[in-house]
């Protein structure tokens, strides 16, 4: 009985939203889809150009969005997956769920070489620990300093299995410490307040004052300068350099609107899109000559981006994550 009623309700909802315009469904992470994120502005701009509906579905993390697509299998409604980064893209590619984008990406303005026939970049930034300079007086300037902070010093990080930020930190530590990464995590473990599924949850905890530092981006302070007009939120620059994140998107093989979806990927490389990114997703655009808010000038921008290539990550990810899980287990 309730199954019938629910199916009925389901059809009702479908028919209510059914219009002539095609709907492009994009799975992404929550901060991208949020009302204060870039989602609504991009939706508006793309809909105007292509006479269609864009629907952003925000999941707790981008890897969470990938898992959702995997769980839904052939039933997925997603046309595009947006928000993975180059580190995890290779892993996603091997699922065989995505198709080539057929775009020329050689002219893009990237901090590190990246070219892939399936996933295509739309913005980038550098990972960094973010703090409130009014509350944290002694700021760590390296991983060593971070692990040697006093006992009550706490950080929030993201789970590398669900969040690209969490994975980025793991790869960052791995590229600095190599074989000794496990030992380093053991030392850092007492300072980890909690490990969240996605970036928003962690950042929310930090803003609520639950932790002294949060793993975020060198570009995060720009948000507080522009939107809140305060400059006390800072990103700590680390001597070891900063691991980076180039965010990418790809079209699903199961999509029924592949042509429209590919047009969206092309749209990500237009100036309209690139102009929205800095002050909505708080990251650097990948299009040359895009305008950057002046708040970005005051940010620490690492000269070089540490980045492992996708193939290495794909082959080592499991071992790196397992090493981490074991090191932090109590």
């Amino acid at each position: 009985m309730p199954v019938k009623i629910m199916t009925l309700l389901w059809f009702l909802t479908i028919s209510l939203f059914a219009t002539d315009k095609p709907t492009l469904t994009i799975y992404t992470y929550d901060a991208f889809a949020a009302s204060w994120g870039p989602g609504p502005k991009i939706k508006q701009a793309f809909e105007k150009e292509h006479n269609c509906n864009v629907k952003f579905v925000g999941l707790s993390s981008s890897i969470g969005a990938l898992r959702k697509i995997q769980l839904e299998g052939k039933r997925t409604k997603a046309d595009i997956l947006l928000g993975l980064d180059t580190s995890i893209a290779q892993v996603a590619k091997t699922t065989g769920l995505f198709i080539p984008h057929e775009l020329n990406t050689s002219k893009l303005d990237l901090p590190a070489p990246y070219s892939d026939d399936t996933f295509t970049p739309f913005d980038y930034s550098f990972f960094a620990f973010v703090y409130d300079e009014n509350k944290l007086k002694k700021v760590p300037d390296s991983f060593e300093a971070l692990a040697s902070m006093p006992k009550e010093f706490k950080i929030v990080i993201q789970d590398p299995r669900s969040s690209t930020a969490g994975l980025g930190l793991l790869l960052w530590v791995k590229s600095v410490y190599g074989d000794k990464a496990g030992q380093y995590w053991k030392r850092l473990a007492p300072h980890i307040l909690t490990i969240t599924k996605g970036w928003s949850e962690a950042y929310g905890l930090f803003l609520k004052g639950e932790a002294d530092m949060v793993l975020s981006y060198t570009t995060s302070p720009a948000y507080h300068m522009v939107e809140e007009n305060r400059s006390n939120i800072k990103a700590a620059s680390f001597k070891e350099g900063h691991y980076g994140q180039i965010e990418v998107a790809a079209v699903l093989k199961s999509s029924t609107k592949k042509a429209l979806a590919k047009e969206f990927l092309a749209f990500m490389h237009t100036k309209i899109f690139a102009d929205i990114i800095p002050t909505a997703n708080w990251a650097y655009p990948v299009v040359k000559g895009a305008k950057l808010h002046k708040a970005f000038e005051s940010l620490h921008r690492p000269k070089q981006m540490t980045l492992m290539d996708g193939a290495t990550v794909e082959s080592q990810r499991k071992a790196i994550v397992d090493e981490w899980l074991e090191a932090i287990a109590k």
């Binding site: 299995r161 909690t194 109590k330």
Partner: protein, 548 residues
């Protein structure tokens, strides 16, 4: 001559009880068949690497799961005994009945709600830290996430449940024994050791094994208070393997380990019964005056635990009242979750009642000497039916969910259909052990009392049900119905695997809100859920008490 006569009676008996035996046996066999298919699906899906790679991470998980279950059990029993002891000796105070009834309600309180309330008090920005900040300008920091929080929540959920059953044991101690203890000038400790402990022993064992199993398979508490992968139980690890890693192989390995261990535990605690039938307050009181000091200690225990028990609920009320209900109640996802939760709870509680009645109806044929108890196969059949009703204890919900999930992946039927089937099955299986422990004794008694009369009057099946069975067991039916409804309404288990924006229940919605730190909205939804559960648990049984 005598022999042939009795054979005829038995044959007659078999025919006469056919309609009582068959449906129950059929359901019981279907349940076992389902368990077999589930195990088969899990077993055939993994590729033979089960016993080769018991790596150190799985070993660590297993160790922590057992360790926290052991500590939780010991602590819950300790607190439960203290509380029951205090309540047993303070038998005359106003509101005692209400207090005891309140503690019993912990059985149906959604785990998620309890955790939410505990965070409100003991969390980093909870009331305790706020008060300490205000008075001493220091905060205790965050101590809730991790083993401490897990233990705290488990003690909250289980100590009250244990104390209720233990109180019953205290109250069944003959008064003469207390008099004897007094005349022998026993100290409190001696009195406990020689008079009270022997009476508690069997309850401690059965309650202890129940609590251990519940904590061993604990999911929601660990998911929310584990705080990180540092504190994972097998159940949470299964969930993460599916949802975070999409590593079905790993999930299967964990599920099979979990399944074998809980099966062993169920067998080890074979004398094990979940006894909720005695959770109704009895009026047997210990007519004893305690010394003033002892009285004070007992009052302190009762007061402290009442505070511990009531405060989290009060916090939910206080935090929830401030929520913007006008907006929350109109959120599409809230409405969707609400409708799904209520429909699922209604269907699964009706199914639970029907299945429990049929199983109990079949079982009593094999346990009543006047029916078929003397038949050679009776013991075996009775055992099989009893086991099929207690399947949930052997199959933890996430393992069940994983089985459903694999079947779903291999089929073309819609996601909605599979999610609904998975949740209904989980909810019914979860409620059955409790339902049976209430209904089986009740129906056994009716048959014992009215069999002769009913048979001599030649009542038809329907007449018998309306005039004999129903009036006698209807209060138990109401209790079981309410119990199953509340269990279903508050469960955060299998939905964690199937939940999405399209298919969501109230606990899942609340969990999402908590995850995105929309604390005020979460408080509002928690309050709605708390009211629903308590309302149903208090009001539904009353409906059944009304005369038809």
């Amino acid at each position: 001559m005598v022999g042939s006569h009795s054979e005829v009676t038995m044959l007659k008996g078999l025919l006469r009880f056919k309609s009582a035996v068959l449906p129950g046996t059929f359901i019981s066999l279907s349940l076992l068949g389902f368990a077999f298919i589930l195990f088969y699906t899990l077993y055939t899906s993994q590729n033979g690497s089960l016993f080769t790679a018991l790596d150190s991470r799985i070993y660590g998980l297993l160790k922590f799961t057992l360790y926290q279950a052991f500590l939780s059990t010991v602590l819950s029993l300790f607190v439960g005994v203290l509380l029951a002891w205090a309540l047993a000796h303070q038998s005359h105070f106003r509101g005692r009945g209400l207090l005891v009834a309140l503690f019993s309600s912990s059985l149906v309180l959604p785990t998620l709600i309890v955790v939410f309330g505990l965070i409100g008090i003991f969390g980093r920005s909870g009331y305790l830290n706020q008060i300490s900040m205000f008075l001493f300008d220091t905060s205790f920091g965050s101590y809730l996430y991790g083993l401490g929080g897990i233990l705290l929540a488990h003690v909250y959920l289980n100590a009250s449940f244990a104390s209720r059953a233990l109180l019953h044991s205290f109250e069944s101690i003959p008064k003469e024994k207390y008099k004897l203890a007094k005349s022998l000038n026993f100290s409190v400790f001696e009195r406990f050791l020689y008079v009270e402990y022997p009476a508690l022993k069997s309850t401690l064992l059965s309650i202890g094994s129940t609590i251990f199993l519940l904590c061993f398979t604990s999911f929601a508490v660990v998911l929310l208070l584990g705080g990180s992968p540092s504190y994972n139980t097998l159940e949470v690890a299964i969930y993460e393997a599916v949802k975070l890693d999409f590593d079905i192989g790993m999930a299967l390995k964990l599920a099979l380990i979990q399944l074998s261990i809980s099966a062993v535990l169920v067998v080890l605690s074979s004398g094990f019964r979940i006894n909720v039938s005695n959770l109704k307050t009895s009026d047997a009181l210990i007519l004893w005056k305690e010394s003033t000091v002892l009285g004070l200690i007992q009052w302190f225990i009762i007061g402290l635990f009442t505070l511990f028990f009531v405060l989290p609920l009060v916090v939910i009320l206080l935090d929830g009242i401030g929520a913007d209900f006008g907006r929350i109640l109109r959120e599409p996802l809230f409405i969707k979750s609400f409708i799904t939760s209520i429909s699922l709870a209604t269907v699964s509680s009706i199914l639970t009642v029907i299945i429990a009645v049929l199983l109990s109806n079949a079982r009593r044929n094999f346990t009543l000497p006047t029916r078929l108890a003397s038949k050679p196969f009776s013991k075996l059949l009775d055992g099989i039916i009893a086991f099929s009703g207690n399947l949930y204890l052997a199959i933890p919900s996430l393992v069940l969910g994983l089985g459903f999930f694999l079947m779903y992946q291999n089929s073309d039927a819609s996601e909605l259909l599979w999610s609904t089937a998975a949740l209904l099955t989980a909810n019914v299986l979860m409620s059955l052990p409790f339902a049976l422990s209430v209904l089986t004794p009740a129906m056994h008694k009716t048959a014992q009392r009215y069999d002769k009369l009913a048979f001599s009057l030649g009542l038809s099946k329907i007449q018998r049900w309306f005039y004999v069975e129903y009036p006698y067991i209807k209060s138990s039916l109401g209790y079981v119905f309410a119990l199953a409804f509340c269990f279903s309404l508050g469960d955060l288990g299998i939905i964690a695997l199937f939940g999405s924006d399209e298919f969501s229940t109230l606990p899942w919605y609340l969990y999402q809100l908590m995850g995105s730190y929309r604390t005020t909205d979460a408080a509002g939804v928690a309050l709605v859920l708390l009211f629903l559960v308590l309302g149903v648990f208090i009001l539904l049984p009353k409906l059944f008490k009304e005369k038809l």
